[in-house]
Amino acid sequence: MADRPITIREALSAALREEMQRDERVFIMGEEVGVWGGTYAVTRGFLDEFGAKRVRDTPIAEMVIAGSAVGAAMAGLRPVAELMTINFAFLALDAIVNHMAKVRYMFNGQFTVPMVIRTTTGGGKQLGATHSHAPEVLFAHFPGMYVAVPGTAYDAKGMLKASIRDDNPVLFVEHSTMLQRRSPVPDDPDFVLPIGKSDIKREGDDVTIVTFGKGLEWSMAAAEQLEKDGIEAEIVDLRWLRPLDLEPVFESFKKTNRCVVVEESLPMFSVGAEVAAQLQNEMFDYMDAPVKRVAAMDNPLPYSREIELMALPDAQKIVAAVKEVV
């Protein structure tokens, strides 16, 4: 079957629809997933197609959305719960961290928690400090769950299907400003990507850019500019923050000896910090320059357009960071 260019939104829809068609135990629940059709229109038409039993609108109650999905998963269903945005996932932090990620371990493997929490992340939309977080790295701190951060339609579809089919709990983080991005995606209903595999999105010999999610878009734009200056960047898209697959980063680094980590999250205790630490442990002998980090400013995000953009990463900031190390 041929690949067809579709948007990330369409890719997510297709993944959900295919998995719901494949397995009766898969159902979706969350605020506005049904009648409204999904705040980001990912589940438009689902209520008609699958009915109210499998497309469940919930009250505005993040703790019980996440927590009841945990219980339903323990009892044998395969819930895909939606938290409208990751900003609201803070209210569900206990259900996610203490229960979704821990009940299997704490009860010595008696329970399995095959569930997915889908949510959207990211700033840049003039929504002010409470609605502009990109804190997915927080959740990657905890063993017992996975964190998916796709940056293309192809990855979004293959990774969401993998997440739904896997028996471990997954926090699946979609970027709210990237839903219209288009790329070729297989129609094959059994197209599934492996969990915990990074992907080289661009090859180059001069510098390794490690990124994910929105950072992928900024990094690709930066790489085009750098190319004009004769600098070839290799871009490693992590795709998953847990399991974190740094092998391709190490391999790339052996060749480039330089690394810039790009993410939208806050800079302290970040993915950049983790990658830099692991690189200096594993790749010390290959290091020709300090690992650079491009992240959001260590500051809340404001409303006003210009100063909001000032606080976020962009291609220019990545170009500048790369030029410091090559």
């Binding site: 109650a61 323990m74 269903l77």
Partner: protein, 327 residues
Amino acid sequence: MATPKKDTLLDWYRQMVLIRRFEERCAELYQQGLIGGFLHLYIGQEATGVGAVAALRENDHVITAYRDHGIALARGLDPKAVMAEMLGKRTGVSGGKGGSMHLADRERHFWGGYGIVGGHLPLAAGIALAAQYEEKDEVVLALMGDGATNIGYFHESLNLSAVWKLPVVWLIENNQYGMGTSVERASGAKELVRRALAYSSEDGSGMKMGPRIDGMDVLAVHDAVSEAIEHARKHGPILIESLTYRLEGHSMGDPQRYRTKEEVESFVESGPIGRFRQVLIDKYKGVESTLDKIDEEALQAVEDAVEFAQNSEDPTYEDLISHVYVD
């Protein structure tokens, strides 16, 4: 409600005594440093746990908070494996990884004790959702403390269960305190069961407000919970409240500055086990010798459990790292 048969009543008595002896022994083992962490005893609340769990069918479900030993034993978990968990042994019900607060047995549909106050309430809703979704005729009994009714999880879970008509019996074990804070000092509603009204309508839809039960009377608890379970099976969620009392501290080493000795003493006299023993003696002529035998057997069962636990192996490095994920 038909009065249970003599054998059944004697079995409840056996369970209550077993729990009491088990808890007393746990306290000793804690003092000796053989049990670590937090230890919350069920002493005083036996009638609630035993009466409520006895009302469940085998394929129904039960889930509770960290004060979970009594529920585990009432649900038929092997005292040996429960004691082994206390001692952190790999033969424990949770392989030594859960501890006193986190007992569970999937086979017996005992979904666990949970250390985060209220954290298990949405799980109960989800387990009930799974039963409803798969059209199984199963009910979830979710026990919680009075203190748990003040946490957001309580509101969100009860409301969702009302909206979705989930087959859940929400049972508040009102032992009058959440740690050192009495119900009066923590809750706008003194009769906690009235909170059900917040999730129900005048036409009777939504959450049913069930009774406040004398939680020191195992027969009363059993009757009320049986009715509640039938309601949940047919119509959806119901909230009931069992008035009980914890005769020991909140956990080990609680100086109990929040209540008087006299108050505690007044509940010792009306304790659930002595009361039930008297009921049985009044009802069945010459039953004393049988009860005495049950008492002895309970003591022996606990000693056997301790011996089993002490002779069990400690968990290994393999246990430390297993079951983080499904392999």
